[in-house]
């Protein structure tokens, strides 16, 4: 039941991120059309695209991207056995969870403190625009906690056998 709910949640998040990405693309084309064909550039389109993009990036990272899609250094990890891997993963998740949790209140305060500032073109409140970052930051803590639970559970071997998949890293 719980895993089905989680699956449904991830799937919905993926559909939303895909649609938002498509919207970004359409806005891009609309902006170009307005600028070059109609001769009347849309002042707000670039900013709106950037806002959507930030939300797509941080929320996709928070809810859609799986751990195996992340780029990691596996030099040491590949050399050791299952139990050592479990220890490495647990120590990593604990370190990330604690650090991000300690920083979370400050991150939250910093973003909410921006309520007086507004974006240039759309005049949207910056705290609202940037809130995706707080969600992302909190998601890191939650994901680390879930991972610790899974590593402590009976199926911990599933956690340490997944190979990573770097094909989403198209930076180079």
């Amino acid at each position: 039941m719980l895993s089905r709910l989680a699956h449904l949640f991830t799937r919905t998040a993926e559909v939303l991120s895909t649609l938002a990405f498509a919207a970004m693309f359409v806005l891009f084309l609309a902006g170009i059309f307005a600028r070059y064909v109609l001769g009347k550039p849309l002042a707000w389109s670039d900013e709106l695209i950037m806002v959507i993009f930030l939300w797509v990036v941080f929320l996709t990272e928070a809810f859609v991207i799986t751990e195996r899609e992340q780029v990691t250094f596996d030099g040491l990890y590949d050399l050791v056995g299952e139990r050592a891997r479990r220890a490495i993963q647990a120590a990593g998740a604990l370190a990330i969870g604690v650090m991000f949790l300690v920083a979370l209140p400050t991150v939250f305060d910093f973003v909410t403190f921006l309520w007086r500032e507004r974006t240039n073109a759309l005049q949207w409140r910056l705290d609202v625009v940037y809130f995706c970052f707080v969600v992302y930051w909190a998601s890191v803590v939650v994901r680390a906690a879930f991972k610790l639970v899974r590593l402590a559970g009976p199926n911990w071997r599933n956690e340490v056998t997944v190979a990573s998949d770097g094909s989403a890293n198209v930076l180079g």
Partner: protein, 431 residues
């Protein structure tokens, strides 16, 4: 070295061993730095979001990713393969040469080697395995090496990122990549010819004169893509970001209305994978901002520049040292860290030595590409191994020989900057 930076370096090593993903690692290193230097943690938000929000050029990255994925989903790679095969396939080790030539063409439409390897590269591997009966390791190694052309021949995602970091012009960088990319292709072909002769790789089949026009006609439409993309940028019509969006749109039109192989389902998949890939890449970029902020605030780059000045290193000597260091670091570090963290630290030194930043950028990016295919840590090797099922060990046995000609080209470019800069100069770049 000052204490907070030292703490950050220690954290970097520890977090790497604990298998942090690179984006989380950079954020965590930023946290450690801010704690160690008793600064406000909120600076992470400030550096990540305010920097990203003001960098409109960043939006070129998702658009180039989208354009590449649209191209992979329509059958553009197969058509270009057929045309390249008709040109050069009949020679000994013909399919190896065809792979290189196909990558030259695909590179002029896509900006990422990983995406080229996973898309067009899979077509090449299949042909080399099935038609040419090449050993699996060799087929994958040829494809991995040829995919390195992707970010060197424009358009290029790492060049866009480098332009943001250095302030160099994207248009000039794109022009500067053309000749080095072609040189890399020639050097790979020379090696493939030699391997073909030594290991007796088969001749490819020849295409008759009568079939030629048809094969070329099938590839002609996709060839309009680089014309729109690069012509738009160099002609000053579009900004790189707009050009990338227009190219994606163009590829979409070709796939939907001319080839008719992009249905709603495929289209959704294309956008979904583009969103994912853009996210992974953008997380790497935005998380590096806080590390760069730390290195800048602590004066690491300026200190390095001063130290290098003190060493009386010539510009050439500096570039040789940097490139040798990058080649060594590239075997174990991910290319993203080299480009996003090490390059910004080196830029002030390069500037003060009077090195042309466009030239420096092209050289560094080629080095970064070599890093992606040098074992033990080479991202492209891992991706191709995962997609083809060929064990990394088998690929590693073959790939090292391809690193040699690419490294030779790299040092040729370092020694003779005019090779890189000639084309930008012709188009009026003053550097």
């Amino acid at each position: 070295m000052k204490d907070p930076v030292l703490w950050m370096c220690v954290a970097f090593v520890v977090f790497a061993m604990l298998r942090f993903s690179i984006a989380l690692m950079m954020f965590s290193c930023g946290l450690v730095y801010l704690w160690a230097s008793r600064q406000d943690i909120g600076l992470i938000v400030d550096q990540t979001l305010n920097s990203a929000f003001q960098l409109n050029v960043l939006l070129a990255v998702p658009m180039f990713i989208l354009a590449g994925n649209v191209m992979n989903a329509s059958t553009i790679s197969e058509r270009i393969w057929a045309a390249a095969d008709a040109v050069i396939g009949r020679t000994r080790a013909g399919l190896g040469h065809v792979t290189v030539l196909m990558n030259v063409v695909i590179s002029s439409m896509s900006g990422s080697a990983v995406s080229d390897a996973a898309g067009a590269g899979m077509v090449a591997i299949q042909m080399m395995r099935k038609v040419g009966n090449y050993p699996a390791g060799l087929a994958v190694a040829i494809t991995a090496a040829a995919s390195c052309l992707g970010p060197v021949i424009p358009p290029s995602i790492p060049m866009v990122i480098y332009a943001i970091l250095s302030g160099a012009s994207v248009g000039a960088l794109f022009l500067a990549g053309v000749i080095p990319g072609l040189l890399m292709a020639v050097s790979l072909s020379v090696l493939i010819a030699w391997i073909g002769w030594r290991r007796n790789l088969p001749y490819g089949k020849s295409v008759t004169w009568r079939e030629l026009p048809c094969v070329f006609a099938r590839a002609a439409i996709p060839m309009t893509l680089p014309v729109v993309l690069l012509g738009g940028i160099w002609g000053g019509v579009f900004t790189p970001t707009e050009a990338a969006a227009v190219a994606a749109f163009w590829a979409l039109l070709i796939g939907m209305f001319i080839y008719r192989n992009l249905g709603p389902k495929t289209l959704f998949a294309v956008f979904a994978v583009s969103a994912r890939q853009s996210t992974v890449v953008m997380m790497l970029i935005v998380s590096s901002f806080i590390v760069n902020f730390a290195l800048e605030r602590e004066g690491v780059a300026a200190g390095l520049a001063g130290w290098i000045e003190h060493l009386n290193l010539s510009p050439l000597g500096f570039q040789l040292v940097v490139n040798v260091a990058f080649l060594i670091l590239g075997t174990v570090l991910d290319g993203a860290v080299l480009l996003l963290v090490f390059v910004p630290v080196l830029l002030p030194a390069a500037k003060s030595l009077g090195i042309d930043l466009v030239h420096f950028g092209v050289v560094v990016i080629i080095n970064f590409m070599i890093a992606q295919i040098t074992p033990p840590y080479g991202l492209i090797l891992f991706v191709l191994s995962a997609l083809t099922g060929v064990p990394v060990r088998e690929i590693n046995r073959e790939i090292w020989q391809f690193c040699v000609p690419l490294t030779v080209v790299l040092f040729l470019l370092v020694l003779f900057p005019a090779i890189t800069l000639w084309l930008p100069w012709v188009f009026g770049y003053k550097g």
